[in-house]
Amino acid sequence: MTWVDAVIQGLLLGGLYAQYAIGLSLMFGVMRIVNIAHGDLVILLALIGISVSAAFGLGPGFIMLLMIPLGALIGWGLQRGILNHLVGNDPLPSLIATFGLSLALQNLMLTIWQADTRSLDAGALAIQSIDLGGIHVGVLPLGIVAVAALLTWGLHVVLKTTRFGRALRASAADKDAATLSGIDTKIVYAKATAIAVAILGIAAVFQAARTTVSPADGGAQLIYAFEAVIIGGMGSIWGAFAGGLILGVAQVVGSRIDPGWGILAGHLVFLLVLAWRPQGIMSRR
């Protein structure tokens, strides 16, 4: 029973990782760019949310409504101001630029919020749980997984059916041909990054409500998002979602075996997938 519980808790934890991962997967799929500051942006949005909530006494719902547009704005600015100048075949410039950004952001947050861990008060929601045949399932974590699934589905539908989704897929497949067909790829890229960071705005509020955040946490979040993407399969949005859940299960089951081995177990699952099925578990290849 404890193992069933561990798996369920892992799935619930994985919902958060899935939310980080879909944005990363979207950006890589469209631009072949990895934003090293991805995790730091989660932390930045979470810390802003916590401070705004404390200053104006707003609940997590309101904060999320604020963080989504703020995230979109940051993403748009990031793409227009920095990343659009660096999209290309060579991965080096965008990696270095976002690495510099990550270093600067982390230390900026350290200056503003100090090294303390903080969290968002989610009120009664934080402790409510449902009893599923002896296993307690938190309402908030369940909501996180549901939102992650909804986001994945929504993004999938947008990519498949809308005009913007077609433009996005066209830009991903062949930038020059897309431009010839009248698509302004720079705008498309900016929208993609705006969506990716807006999703981080949702993830940030959930992260802050569910656990704690501190300025140095960004690197770990980036690594989890990346592992989720690779486990699920590069370029697949549903893969990123599944990868997040698997990573969560690996971490929780690992930490039940030995508290020191939780995060390591997640890394090991990632390495195993890389060794045996580098195309990811969701890939049909």
Binding site: F99, G100, G260, I263, L264
Partner: protein
């Protein structure tokens, strides 16, 4: 009638001066214990390790096209090798230093084979995950005293003066191997292939360069050089712990030094290391604000001057320090 000759030569006045100065400086380092203070010696040890680690990162990213944010994996592996060899095998720490390159090489080979499956930028994050794996495993291993780290007690058998002599000799050798070795390698046939790979891996492959095997070789060699530097650095520290040896900050330093100095050039990491080293002495006490500036500077360099300071300087003056190519000189002679 006129006769003309075309001269092919490698060296310039600037390179002759630079190489002479470099060799004199290298020769001077081991004499430091006889005239310099131990504070100055510590600084030189740190600077040597920075140059070596940055040069290895340059080899990896600049020539191999493999951006790593996980070189701390090999710094820690080199450092821990030294401590384990001296504590458990009872070897003389100074003789253990060259042996400390074995573990990084053994770890690098399978790491590369796993990571090469990852595409471009994902490769970089993959190196970070591996470094984290090494850190977490080390932190859980009781043999190496888990999270509390190890102390190099064997150094107690030497006097401070003996330790300084040993360390300065090691530093001179480290620079000779990492900078001099890279220089000689780049001038060889192998170097031609590496330079072709740096400029365009696809066309290099079309000219018969085995890009995959070259990358494997570069990854392992860079790991060994980085491990050597790690061993020397932590020998001077006398202490190592998982959180210091495998600190991701090492990668930040590598990236800053090489990008600001100038990637894909031998001179770049040296210029960058001198700059970082001086800046840290001057502004390091500003802590987080200093790091914000380092981060923004890296960002700006990536945006506006991908060749770094050495690239900018190269536009003004063609004064190479370590030329790896040849230059042509056209001389007209005769009675006209």
């Amino acid at each position: 009638m006129t006769a003309s000759t075309i001269l092919v030569h490698r060296h310039t006045l600037s390179s002759r001066i630079a190489i002479t100065v470099a060799l004199l400086l290298l020769a001077a380092i081991p004499t430091m214990p006889f005239w310099a203070s131990s504070g100055q010696i510590r600084l030189i040890i740190e600077l040597s390790c920075l140059i070596a680690i940055a040069q290895m990162w340059n080899l990896l990213a600049g020539y191999g096209g493999m951006v790593s944010v996980g070189q701390q994996a090999f710094i820690g592996a080199g450092g821990y090798s030294l401590f384990v060899l001296s504590v458990y095998a009872g070897l003389n720490p100074f003789w253990s230093v060259p042996l400390a390159m074995i573990l990084p090489a053994l770890l690098a080979a399978p790491s590369y084979l796993l990571l090469r499956k990852l595409d471009g930028p994902y490769f970089a994050i993959g190196t970070w995950v591996l470094a984290e794996v090494f850190r977490l495993v080390t932190g859980n291993l009781q043999v190496v005293n888990a999270g509390s780290g190890m102390t190099l007690r064997a150094m107690g058998q030497f006097t401070a003066h003996q330790r300084e002599i040993g360390l300065t000799i090691l530093c001179a050798l480290l620079l000779l191997i990492t900078v001099g070795g890279t220089f000689l390698m780049l001038r060889s046939r192998l170097g031609l292939a590496m330079t072709a790979m740096r400029d365009d891996p696809v066309s290099a492959a079309s000219q018969g360069v085995n890009v995959g095997r070259m990358r494997f070789g570069i990854y392992v060699v860079a790991a060994m050089g980085t491990g050597l530097a790690g061993a020397i650095y932590y020998m001077a520290q006398l202490r190592i712990s998982p959180s210091s040896g495998f600190d991701p900050y090492w990668s930040s330093i590598c990236i800053f030094i090489v990008m600001v100095g100038g990637i894909g050039r031998l001179e770049g990491p040296i210029v960058g290391a001198l700059l970082y080293f001086t800046a840290t002495r001057l502004f390091g006490h500003y802590g987080a604000s200093y790091m914000i500036v380092l981060g923004l500077l890296t960002l700006l360099i990536a945006l506006f001057s991908p060749g770094g300071l050495w690239g900018l300087f190269g536009k003004l003056r063609d004064w190479p320090w370590f030329p790896v190519g040849h230059r042509l000189e056209y001389r007209q002679r005769g009675d006209a």
